[in-house]
Protein backbone atom coordinates (compact mmCIF):
# COMPACT_ATOMS: atom_id res chain seq x y z
CA UNK A 1 0.00 0.00 0.00
CA UNK A 2 1.30 3.43 -0.94
CA UNK A 3 1.21 6.42 1.39
CA UNK A 4 1.12 10.03 0.26
CA UNK A 5 2.99 12.83 2.06
CA UNK A 6 0.24 13.21 4.67
CA UNK A 7 0.14 9.52 5.51
CA UNK A 8 -3.16 8.71 3.79
CA UNK A 9 -3.21 5.23 2.43
CA UNK A 10 -4.52 5.60 -1.08
CA UNK A 11 -7.37 3.29 -1.95
CA UNK A 12 -7.69 1.88 1.60
CA UNK A 13 -11.00 2.12 3.39
CA UNK A 14 -11.27 0.97 7.02
CA UNK A 15 -14.81 -0.13 7.86
CA UNK A 16 -16.33 1.99 10.63
CA UNK A 17 -17.29 -1.13 12.62
CA UNK A 18 -13.94 -1.00 14.43
CA UNK A 19 -14.64 2.54 15.57
CA UNK A 20 -18.28 1.76 16.37
CA UNK A 21 -17.18 -1.06 18.67
CA UNK A 22 -14.70 1.20 20.49
CA UNK A 23 -17.17 4.10 20.84
CA UNK A 24 -20.14 2.04 22.02
CA UNK A 25 -18.09 -0.01 24.48
CA UNK A 26 -16.55 3.19 25.93
CA UNK A 27 -20.09 4.53 26.50
CA UNK A 28 -21.07 1.25 28.18
CA UNK A 29 -17.88 1.30 30.30
CA UNK A 30 -18.61 4.80 31.63
CA UNK A 31 -22.23 3.89 32.29
CA UNK A 32 -21.18 0.72 34.16
CA UNK A 33 -18.84 2.64 36.50
CA UNK A 34 -21.80 4.77 37.63
CA UNK A 35 -24.36 1.97 37.65
CA UNK A 36 -22.20 -0.36 39.74
CA UNK A 37 -21.28 2.55 42.04
CA UNK A 38 -24.97 3.33 42.51
CA UNK A 39 -25.84 -0.32 43.18
CA UNK A 40 -22.99 -0.56 45.69
CA UNK A 41 -24.27 2.54 47.49
CA UNK A 42 -27.88 1.35 47.49
CA UNK A 43 -27.39 -2.26 48.58
CA UNK A 44 -24.88 -3.22 51.31
CA UNK A 45 -24.81 -6.80 49.99
CA UNK A 46 -23.70 -5.55 46.56
CA UNK A 47 -21.10 -3.30 48.21
CA UNK A 48 -19.72 -6.34 50.05
CA UNK A 49 -19.49 -8.25 46.75
CA UNK A 50 -17.59 -5.35 45.18
CA UNK A 51 -15.09 -5.25 48.04
CA UNK A 52 -12.28 -6.86 46.01
CA UNK A 53 -9.48 -5.06 47.86
CA UNK A 54 -10.24 -4.12 51.45
CA UNK A 55 -8.17 -0.88 51.76
CA UNK A 56 -9.98 0.60 48.73
CA UNK A 57 -13.35 -0.90 49.61
CA UNK A 58 -16.23 -1.36 47.16
CA UNK A 59 -14.67 1.13 44.71
CA UNK A 60 -12.13 -1.58 43.80
CA UNK A 61 -14.85 -3.98 42.64
CA UNK A 62 -17.03 -1.30 41.06
CA UNK A 63 -14.24 -0.08 38.78
CA UNK A 64 -12.63 -3.47 38.12
CA UNK A 65 -15.99 -4.98 37.09
CA UNK A 66 -16.83 -1.96 34.90
CA UNK A 67 -13.42 -2.17 33.18
CA UNK A 68 -13.91 -5.89 32.69
CA UNK A 69 -17.35 -5.33 31.09
CA UNK A 70 -15.92 -2.53 28.90
CA UNK A 71 -12.97 -4.60 27.62
CA UNK A 72 -14.95 -7.80 27.08
CA UNK A 73 -17.68 -5.91 25.21
CA UNK A 74 -15.06 -4.05 23.15
CA UNK A 75 -13.35 -7.31 22.17
CA UNK A 76 -16.68 -8.96 21.36
CA UNK A 77 -18.00 -6.04 19.29
CA UNK A 78 -14.67 -5.63 17.48
CA UNK A 79 -14.85 -9.27 16.49
CA UNK A 80 -18.46 -9.01 15.37
CA UNK A 81 -18.35 -5.60 13.70
CA UNK A 82 -14.70 -5.43 12.61
CA UNK A 83 -15.26 -5.87 8.88
CA UNK A 84 -18.60 -4.09 8.65
CA UNK A 85 -19.80 -0.55 8.05
CA UNK A 86 -22.53 0.40 10.46
CA UNK A 87 -24.96 3.33 10.92
CA UNK A 88 -22.69 5.49 13.11
CA UNK A 89 -25.46 7.98 13.90
CA UNK A 90 -27.41 5.41 15.92
CA UNK A 91 -24.30 4.03 17.64
CA UNK A 92 -23.06 7.51 18.57
CA UNK A 93 -26.48 8.42 19.95
CA UNK A 94 -26.54 5.31 22.17
CA UNK A 95 -22.91 5.88 23.29
CA UNK A 96 -23.55 9.57 24.16
CA UNK A 97 -26.78 8.64 25.92
CA UNK A 98 -24.94 6.07 28.04
CA UNK A 99 -22.16 8.57 28.75
CA UNK A 100 -24.72 11.23 29.74
CA UNK A 101 -26.66 8.83 31.99
CA UNK A 102 -23.33 7.74 33.47
CA UNK A 103 -22.44 11.34 34.38
CA UNK A 104 -25.96 11.86 35.76
CA UNK A 105 -25.83 8.72 37.93
CA UNK A 106 -22.32 9.47 39.19
CA UNK A 107 -23.43 12.83 40.62
CA UNK A 108 -24.23 11.95 44.26
CA UNK A 109 -27.39 14.10 44.72
CA UNK A 110 -29.02 12.39 41.70
CA UNK A 111 -27.88 8.98 42.89
CA UNK A 112 -29.29 9.64 46.37
CA UNK A 113 -32.55 10.85 44.84
CA UNK A 114 -32.95 7.59 42.92
Amino acid sequence: MKSNQHGNESGSEIPNGVAAAAILSAGVGCFCVSLFGLLGDAFPAVARCFNFYNPTGPLSGVTTTAIFVWLILWAFLSRSWGGRSLPMGKINTIAFLLLGIGVFLSFPPFGDFL
Binding site: S12, V18, A19, A22, I23, C30, P55, L59, N92, S106
Partner: protein, 189 residues
Protein backbone atom coordinates in the same frame (compact mmCIF):
# COMPACT_ATOMS: atom_id res chain seq x y z
CA UNK B 1 10.81 22.19 55.58
CA UNK B 2 9.61 18.62 55.53
CA UNK B 3 7.04 16.45 53.81
CA UNK B 4 5.56 13.09 54.65
CA UNK B 5 5.74 10.14 52.28
CA UNK B 6 1.96 10.23 51.82
CA UNK B 7 2.04 13.91 50.88
CA UNK B 8 4.68 13.22 48.23
CA UNK B 9 2.66 10.33 46.76
CA UNK B 10 -0.49 12.49 46.78
CA UNK B 11 1.38 15.20 44.87
CA UNK B 12 2.60 12.62 42.37
CA UNK B 13 -0.98 11.38 41.91
CA UNK B 14 -2.61 14.79 41.61
CA UNK B 15 0.01 17.08 40.13
CA UNK B 16 2.35 14.57 38.50
CA UNK B 17 -0.11 12.27 36.73
CA UNK B 18 -3.43 14.12 36.91
CA UNK B 19 -2.10 17.64 36.37
CA UNK B 20 0.04 16.58 33.41
CA UNK B 21 -2.92 14.70 31.93
CA UNK B 22 -5.10 17.82 32.13
CA UNK B 23 -2.34 20.00 30.64
CA UNK B 24 -1.89 17.54 27.80
CA UNK B 25 -5.44 18.18 26.61
CA UNK B 26 -4.43 21.51 25.06
CA UNK B 27 -2.12 19.67 22.66
CA UNK B 28 -4.57 16.81 22.15
CA UNK B 29 -7.40 19.14 21.16
CA UNK B 30 -5.17 20.94 18.65
CA UNK B 31 -4.01 17.61 17.21
CA UNK B 32 -7.53 16.22 17.03
CA UNK B 33 -8.84 19.43 15.50
CA UNK B 34 -6.18 19.27 12.80
CA UNK B 35 -7.02 15.64 12.09
CA UNK B 36 -10.73 16.23 12.20
CA UNK B 37 -10.93 19.47 10.27
CA UNK B 38 -12.63 18.63 6.98
CA UNK B 39 -11.10 21.47 4.91
CA UNK B 40 -7.67 19.79 5.15
CA UNK B 41 -5.93 23.16 5.21
CA UNK B 42 -3.24 21.93 7.60
CA UNK B 43 -3.23 18.12 7.59
CA UNK B 44 -0.80 16.19 9.76
CA UNK B 45 2.36 14.95 8.08
CA UNK B 46 3.48 11.34 8.59
CA UNK B 47 5.97 12.51 11.24
CA UNK B 48 3.32 14.55 13.05
CA UNK B 49 0.97 11.57 13.00
CA UNK B 50 3.65 9.41 14.58
CA UNK B 51 4.29 12.06 17.20
CA UNK B 52 0.57 12.45 17.90
CA UNK B 53 0.26 8.68 18.38
CA UNK B 54 3.04 8.79 21.01
CA UNK B 55 1.34 11.83 22.58
CA UNK B 56 -1.98 10.00 22.89
CA UNK B 57 -0.27 6.91 24.34
CA UNK B 58 1.43 9.12 26.93
CA UNK B 59 -1.97 10.67 27.79
CA UNK B 60 -3.53 7.23 28.15
CA UNK B 61 -0.70 6.09 30.44
CA UNK B 62 -1.07 9.28 32.51
CA UNK B 63 -4.84 8.81 32.80
CA UNK B 64 -4.55 5.21 33.99
CA UNK B 65 -1.66 6.07 36.32
CA UNK B 66 -3.80 8.81 37.87
CA UNK B 67 -6.86 6.67 38.59
CA UNK B 68 -4.90 3.59 39.67
CA UNK B 69 -2.58 5.50 42.02
CA UNK B 70 -5.62 7.37 43.33
CA UNK B 71 -7.79 4.32 43.95
CA UNK B 72 -5.14 1.92 45.23
CA UNK B 73 -2.59 4.15 46.98
CA UNK B 74 -4.05 7.52 48.05
CA UNK B 75 -7.72 6.55 48.56
CA UNK B 76 -6.94 3.84 51.18
CA UNK B 77 -5.07 6.50 53.22
CA UNK B 78 -8.00 8.88 52.77
CA UNK B 79 -10.69 6.40 53.89
CA UNK B 80 -8.68 4.71 56.68
CA UNK B 81 -10.79 4.10 59.78
CA UNK B 82 -9.35 5.42 63.06
CA UNK B 83 -8.99 3.00 65.96
CA UNK B 84 -11.49 3.21 68.83
CA UNK B 85 -11.02 6.19 71.11
CA UNK B 86 -9.11 8.38 68.65
CA UNK B 87 -10.40 11.94 68.56
CA UNK B 88 -7.61 13.57 66.56
CA UNK B 89 -8.50 12.87 62.93
CA UNK B 90 -5.43 14.55 61.38
CA UNK B 91 -4.34 11.19 59.90
CA UNK B 92 -7.88 10.23 58.85
CA UNK B 93 -9.10 12.72 56.23
CA UNK B 94 -12.48 11.10 55.51
CA UNK B 95 -13.34 10.92 59.19
CA UNK B 96 -12.11 14.46 59.67
CA UNK B 97 -14.42 15.77 56.94
CA UNK B 98 -17.42 13.78 58.18
CA UNK B 99 -16.93 15.01 61.76
CA UNK B 100 -18.24 18.48 60.97
CA UNK B 101 -21.41 19.56 59.13
CA UNK B 102 -19.41 22.39 57.51
CA UNK B 103 -17.00 19.96 55.82
CA UNK B 104 -19.18 16.84 55.42
CA UNK B 105 -20.16 17.84 51.88
CA UNK B 106 -16.57 17.65 50.71
CA UNK B 107 -16.79 13.92 51.21
CA UNK B 108 -20.45 13.17 50.47
CA UNK B 109 -20.46 15.24 47.26
CA UNK B 110 -16.82 15.86 46.33
CA UNK B 111 -15.16 12.52 46.99
CA UNK B 112 -18.25 10.44 46.16
CA UNK B 113 -18.47 12.11 42.73
CA UNK B 114 -14.76 12.24 42.06
CA UNK B 115 -14.07 8.59 42.86
CA UNK B 116 -16.47 7.44 40.12
CA UNK B 117 -16.43 10.13 37.44
CA UNK B 118 -12.61 10.11 37.31
CA UNK B 119 -12.71 6.67 35.66
CA UNK B 120 -14.52 8.10 32.62
CA UNK B 121 -11.30 9.88 31.59
CA UNK B 122 -9.03 6.83 31.04
CA UNK B 123 -11.83 4.86 29.38
CA UNK B 124 -12.61 7.73 26.99
CA UNK B 125 -9.00 8.68 26.19
CA UNK B 126 -8.08 5.01 25.57
CA UNK B 127 -10.88 4.85 23.01
CA UNK B 128 -9.77 8.14 21.38
CA UNK B 129 -6.14 6.92 21.16
CA UNK B 130 -7.25 3.60 19.69
CA UNK B 131 -9.38 5.28 17.04
CA UNK B 132 -6.50 7.57 16.04
CA UNK B 133 -4.20 4.54 15.85
CA UNK B 134 -6.65 2.74 13.64
CA UNK B 135 -7.63 5.60 11.32
CA UNK B 136 -4.81 8.15 11.54
CA UNK B 137 -5.39 11.17 9.32
CA UNK B 138 -8.07 9.19 7.43
CA UNK B 139 -10.28 10.12 10.38
CA UNK B 140 -11.20 13.30 8.51
CA UNK B 141 -13.12 11.11 6.03
CA UNK B 142 -15.29 9.62 8.79
CA UNK B 143 -17.33 12.54 10.03
CA UNK B 144 -19.37 10.71 12.67
CA UNK B 145 -16.40 8.73 13.98
CA UNK B 146 -14.26 11.85 14.39
CA UNK B 147 -17.16 13.74 16.01
CA UNK B 148 -17.61 10.93 18.53
CA UNK B 149 -13.86 10.76 19.23
CA UNK B 150 -13.73 14.52 19.76
CA UNK B 151 -16.82 14.46 22.03
CA UNK B 152 -15.33 11.67 24.15
CA UNK B 153 -12.07 13.60 24.41
CA UNK B 154 -14.07 16.59 25.72
CA UNK B 155 -15.89 14.25 28.15
CA UNK B 156 -12.51 12.91 29.36
CA UNK B 157 -11.32 16.48 29.94
CA UNK B 158 -14.47 17.41 31.90
CA UNK B 159 -14.32 14.22 33.98
CA UNK B 160 -10.63 14.77 34.76
CA UNK B 161 -11.31 18.42 35.62
CA UNK B 162 -14.08 17.48 38.06
CA UNK B 163 -11.86 14.84 39.67
CA UNK B 164 -8.80 17.09 39.75
CA UNK B 165 -10.68 20.12 41.05
CA UNK B 166 -12.37 18.22 43.86
CA UNK B 167 -9.11 16.40 44.60
CA UNK B 168 -7.29 19.67 45.16
CA UNK B 169 -10.09 21.10 47.32
CA UNK B 170 -10.43 17.91 49.34
CA UNK B 171 -6.72 17.89 50.02
CA UNK B 172 -6.94 21.51 51.09
CA UNK B 173 -9.72 20.75 53.59
CA UNK B 174 -8.38 17.44 54.87
CA UNK B 175 -4.85 16.69 53.64
CA UNK B 176 -3.59 13.16 53.33
CA UNK B 177 -0.69 12.99 55.78
CA UNK B 178 1.44 10.40 57.48
CA UNK B 179 4.19 7.93 56.81
CA UNK B 180 7.91 8.57 56.85
CA UNK B 181 8.83 12.22 57.19
CA UNK B 182 11.33 13.47 54.63
CA UNK B 183 13.31 16.59 55.46
CA UNK B 184 13.64 18.75 52.33
CA UNK B 185 15.33 21.84 53.73
CA UNK B 186 16.92 22.83 57.05
CA UNK B 187 15.41 25.93 58.68
CA UNK B 188 17.64 28.93 59.42
CA UNK B 189 16.46 29.20 63.06
Amino acid sequence: MQMSFREIVTILHGMGFGGLFLLAFSGAFIGLYRVCTPDRSSPLTVWEQKLFRIYLIAMTVLAWSTVLSGAYVVYPWYRAHPPEGITDYAQYPQRSLLSSPTTEGWHSLGMEWKEHVAWFAPIAITMVAYIFFKYGSDLSRYRQVRNAAFAFAVAAFIAASIAGGFGALLNKNAPVRGGTVIKIMEGSK
